[in-house]
Symmetry: C2
Subunit: 307 residues, 2 copies
């Protein structure tokens, strides 16, 4: 699959190839393509189409990362300087567009249901991102609004990947639905955990700076829980900490200490674990197999990860 992505990115003019070398497509955790393949395994087996489609899903993810880094003014990703930092926003915007247009062209060779699933996941991802920036610095964001946003901006691609895996393995409608549910719940747990790592992680492990969500005015689950349950004075202290144009690791550390003492970190972890349980439960009707076992294990790892 890495070879497929590399081939797709090398089949272009030199300036594009030079830029494409920076994006690190195929160097991440590859969780979305991994889920697609495991879903295939759990529903009858993997074909060449699975590999091809998994590469497409990872390319979409790479494109969203490129644009996310422009949107969030991210400097570091996967432990290295981002393309927008190295070569300017324009390169990151245009290379993301290039990736998306290549995806779009690759999809014209797929069966219509598979192409539709991918396109719908891409639309939902964009809608979620737009919803999120519309809620920037809204310190009153509710938990349900937050969950709606991450279901679109993150879980839609997880869900699409899993349902494609089932679909391409010849899974029936029920199986496709089970895998779509599993992907959605796993994606939500993944994003809650990702947001937690922004508060409690270590840059050396996560490969990206800590506290960036706060700088971008993104409210995540621990803070939503805190604001909905803390007293006036505690809230004022936290607002002072987060209402600062730039976060420092010291400030993020103080904040995560307050959130931990208040039980908000725990709360978010429990919510992530709850979605993992729901994800696993979605697979209940699926025949036992190595693929199913691996999916169960993957969902568990998603909420326990530290990178």
């Amino acid at each position: 699959m890495r070879a497929l992505i590399e081939r797709e990115l090398s089949d272009c003019s030199k300036p594009v190839r030079d830029l494409a070398g920076h994006i690190g497509a195929g160097r991440g955790k590859m969780i979305r393509p991994g889920l697609l393949l495991l879903s295939g395994l759990a529903c009858g087996g993997i074909t060449g189409k699975h590999i091809h489609t998994a590469a497409i899903i990872e390319m979409i993810h790479s494109a969203t990362l490129l644009h996310d880094d422009v949107v969030d003014e991210g400097d570091i990703r996967r432990g290295v300087a981002t393309l927008n930092k190295l070569r300017g926003n324009e390169s990151a915007v245009l290379l993301g567009d290039f990736l998306l247009s290549r995806v779009f062209r690759l999809c014209t060779g797929l069966e219509p249901p598979a192409a539709r699933t991918i396109a719908s996941a891409a639309v939902q991802t964009c809608e979620g991102e737009l919803r999120q920036i519309a809620q920037r610095s809204n310190w009153r964001l509710s938990e349900s609004q937050y969950l709606e946003i991450i279901a679109e901006k993150t879980a839609a691609l997880f869900s699409g990947a899993c349902s494609l895996g089932a679909m391409l393995a010849g899974g029936n409608g029920r199986q496709v639905k089970m895998l779509a549910d599993y992907g959605c719940k796993t994606g939500i747990a993944f994003q809650i955990t990702d947001d937690l790592l922004d508060l409690t992680g270590e840059q050396a492990r996560t490969g990206k700076p800590i506290g960036n969500d706060l700088v971008c005015g993104k409210l995540t689950l621990p803070l939503i829980h805190f604001f909905s349950s803390a007293g006036k004075k505690e809230k004022a202290d936290v607002i002072r900490l987060i209402d600062h144009p730039r976060s420092s690791s010291k400030r993020v550390f103080s904040l995560s200490k307050i959130l931990r003492e208040h039980g908000s970190i725990d709360y978010a972890q429990r919510r992530a674990a709850g979605f993992v349980k729901q994800a696993i439960r979605s697979l209940a009707g699926l025949k036992d197999s190595d693929g199913k076992d691996a999916l169960v294990e993957t969902a568990r790892i998603v909420a326990r990860r530290t990178v």
Copy 2:
């Protein structure tokens, strides 16, 4: 077609609708969808599919404008403030992505050859844009490199639109090829003229600031001609004028005066007219019809326009 675009953009969540109201899709010259419809007329007649596909082409164009304005830091477009100016780069990047993903989803409902034509045009547009930024501030760009860039970044979508028009009207392979050639040459003439207007136009008429290409380090045909034919002293004078972090209308005026006196403006106009002639010649084998007449007239207007 405007109604189709509006419907596609209104079928989404409120924050997205709010943003979509800014982009002015359907408020431009609509030249690409216009060419698609005329190409259909010239090859047998227009169907509902033509209207649908023309809307898709205009949505792609709107998305590229949104991202171009981020890349070029454009403040004004079509006489109004750009979305990146009003709502920040992030909104412009994400709304462009949203438009592209909607296009992608709409294309999954088209016949594969039509979807492939659109996807290939999108890929080429992106490749051209990336090639262009790789050549930023390269004052030695050759005319052939310039033509290669604009053939991809602009003419590919023109060519795609025209060949789609022919294809959807049931045109044969020869007709589709003729229309693709016509679109390519018309697109090149359009872009040469667009670049000329950046030097010689009036903001009140073009709806965008003059001299922006220079600020962005984009070398266009009059300057390429000048650098390839002027003496050392003249070149040094021009480099002084353009090597300035911001252009002023006074500086652009001085520059366009030098270029005019040197014959470089004339040269670019003659080149554009030459491509118009080639575009018209591409249609020679096409049966006479109102559609063909309108295509001929459109190509002529493209190189004569002042807006």
